[in-house]
């Protein structure tokens, strides 16, 4: 049995044995299903399980891309694909004109609309594949330009809603002005911000942050006072006083509202709790280290006691080091016998999982000989 088969069996066994128990406690089956799916997904992502267990909706994700997409680089299976910009902001057919920087290039736009042929029907049922079809940008083959090509202003509207005003103006103008807009729009989200700054003529940008809010109110009040005819000097004093008070209150509110939680290491007990193994029967290399260290210390006591003072500190730091990195080598097993003769150690382990060089190896029995 391969490692991955054993893992899959373990997952199914756990879920099977928990199903009745959860049902009797009133937990919905969907929760257990979700646990299983997430667990299997993580195992696949880690590479511990090579192939997803037989699942009706999973197989379709591995269907190869249609023949006419040979120019497209291979895309990973849709279910596990990390979200790309295309998936987060799904490209509608109307949006594809945005990808044409020049008016002369028509193929990408055409590609989206052409009746794509019989091979597509085989992949239609998959929700993710529809997205993949639209990802096939590079296909460069020409098609006869269809009548809708001339409906470009209509096609552009969805993506550049703020340009509705301009579209009306540009209806009679030839294409180059439209392409100029495409250049600015191709910058992604930036385009909206740029547009906002230029959208309001006159250059006044209303302040969005809160710093000047109170002061602007005071300014407004003062402007009203001016109208009622107060003298300038009195006005200045009043504004200064009011402004000072307001500034003080702002500073106080900001100081008291912020409570910075301390995240540096005052409490190290949490890590120690995780290190509390069953002392009776199981052991891993760290524990073996402790046992060995004690023996070593006894042997050297007569000669150089001070040398051992710092040894425990190093091990303690190891224990309290927090989460081990995922590629650290590890053997988790139950020991049957550990013996030592002078500097030669022999141990017999059983039922173990070794994680070495990023691979998992399971064993029923292990014999080890170490000399140090």
């Amino acid at each position: 049995m391969t490692t991955s088969t054993v893992y899959v069996n373990v997952v199914e066994d756990v879920v099977k044995k928990l199903r009745d128990q959860f049902r009797s406690e009133g937990v919905d089956d969907s929760v257990l299903t979700e646990v299983q799916e997430l667990w299997e997904l993580k195992l696949m992502q880690n590479g511990a399980v090579l192939e997803r267990p037989a699942n009706p909706h999973a197989r379709g994700a591995n269907v190869p891309t249609p023949v006419h997409d040979l120019n497209v680089p291979y895309e990973a299976t849709e279910e596990y694909e990390t979200p790309t910009a295309e998936m987060l902001f799904p490209p509608t057919p109307l949006e594809t004109p945005m990808q044409t920087p020049l008016p002369g290039i028509q193929e990408p736009v055409v590609y989206q609309y052409m009746p794509q042929g019989p091979s597509d029907y085989t992949t239609v049922p998959e929700p993710g594949v529809a997205g993949e079809m639209k990802l096939g940008r590079p296909a460069p083959y020409m098609q006869q330009p269809s009548a809708w090509m001339n409906q470009r202003p209509l096609g552009v509207d969805v993506n550049i809603a703020y340009e509705e005003g301009r579209d009306e103006d540009d209806a009679g103008i030839s294409q180059p002005p439209m392409t100029k807009d495409f250049f600015t729009l191709s910058a992604g989200k930036r385009k909206r911000e740029d547009f906002n700054s230029s959208y309001i003529p006159g250059g006044y940008i209303p302040q969005q942050d809160g710093a000047g809010d109170f002061i602007s109110e005071i300014v407004q009040e003062n402007e009203i006072h001016l109208d009622t005819g107060l003298s300038n000097e009195r006005l200045k004093a009043q504004t200064r006083n009011k402004a000072d008070l307001v500034i003080d209150s702002i500073i106080k509110s900001k100081c008291t509202s912020q409570k910075i939680s301390q995240v540096d290491g005052t409490d190290e007990n949490a890590d120690d709790a995780n290190e509390n193994y069953n002392a009776s029967a199981d052991q891993d290399p760290l524990d073996i280290n402790d046992a060995l260290k004690e023996v070593k210390a006894e042997a050297n006591d007569d000669d150089e006691p001070p040398l051992n003072e710092d040894d425990d500190d190093e091990i303690d730091e190891l224990d309290q080091g927090g989460e081990e990195p995922s590629t650290s080598h590890l053997v988790l097993a139950q020991f049957e016998k550990v013996t030592r003769t002078k500097s030669k150690w022999k141990c017999t382990l059983k039922d173990g999982i070794m994680h070495l060089n990023n691979k998992d190896i399971l064993f029923a029995k292990a014999n080890g000989e170490f000399e140090f």
Binding site: F22, L38, Y277, L332, D360, I361, F363, N367, G368, F372
Partner: protein, 87 residues
């Protein structure tokens, strides 16, 4: 009955722990149920290792060292593995 929790530190155990952490933090699962899942995992994992796995491993590490940290590392670099897998 107490179970051996050491297998929770393996790859499969860590994946399960992460899954349960996510579900508990978004409220899908209660912590008590999560602990039940972990305990059942301990039992199933131990049983699977006993029954399904038959392979034997011999480990030899013949280089002598002075500090425990170095011992761990060269355990892997200089040790010779003879891995006999019985299917």
């Amino acid at each position: 009955m107490a179970t051996f929790e050491l297998y929770r530190r393996s790859t499969i155990g860590m994946c399960l722990t992460e899954t349960l952490d996510e579900l508990v933090s978004n409220g899908t699962l209660t912590p008590e149920h999560a602990i039940q899942v972990l305990v059942q995992f301990d039992k199933s994992m131990a049983e699977a290792l006993e029954t399904h796995v038959k392979s034997k491993v011999t480990i030899k590490c013949l280089k002598s060292l002075h500090s425990n940290i170095l011992w761990l590392r060269s355990y892997l670099k200089d040790g010779t593995f003879a891995h006999l897998q019985i299917l």
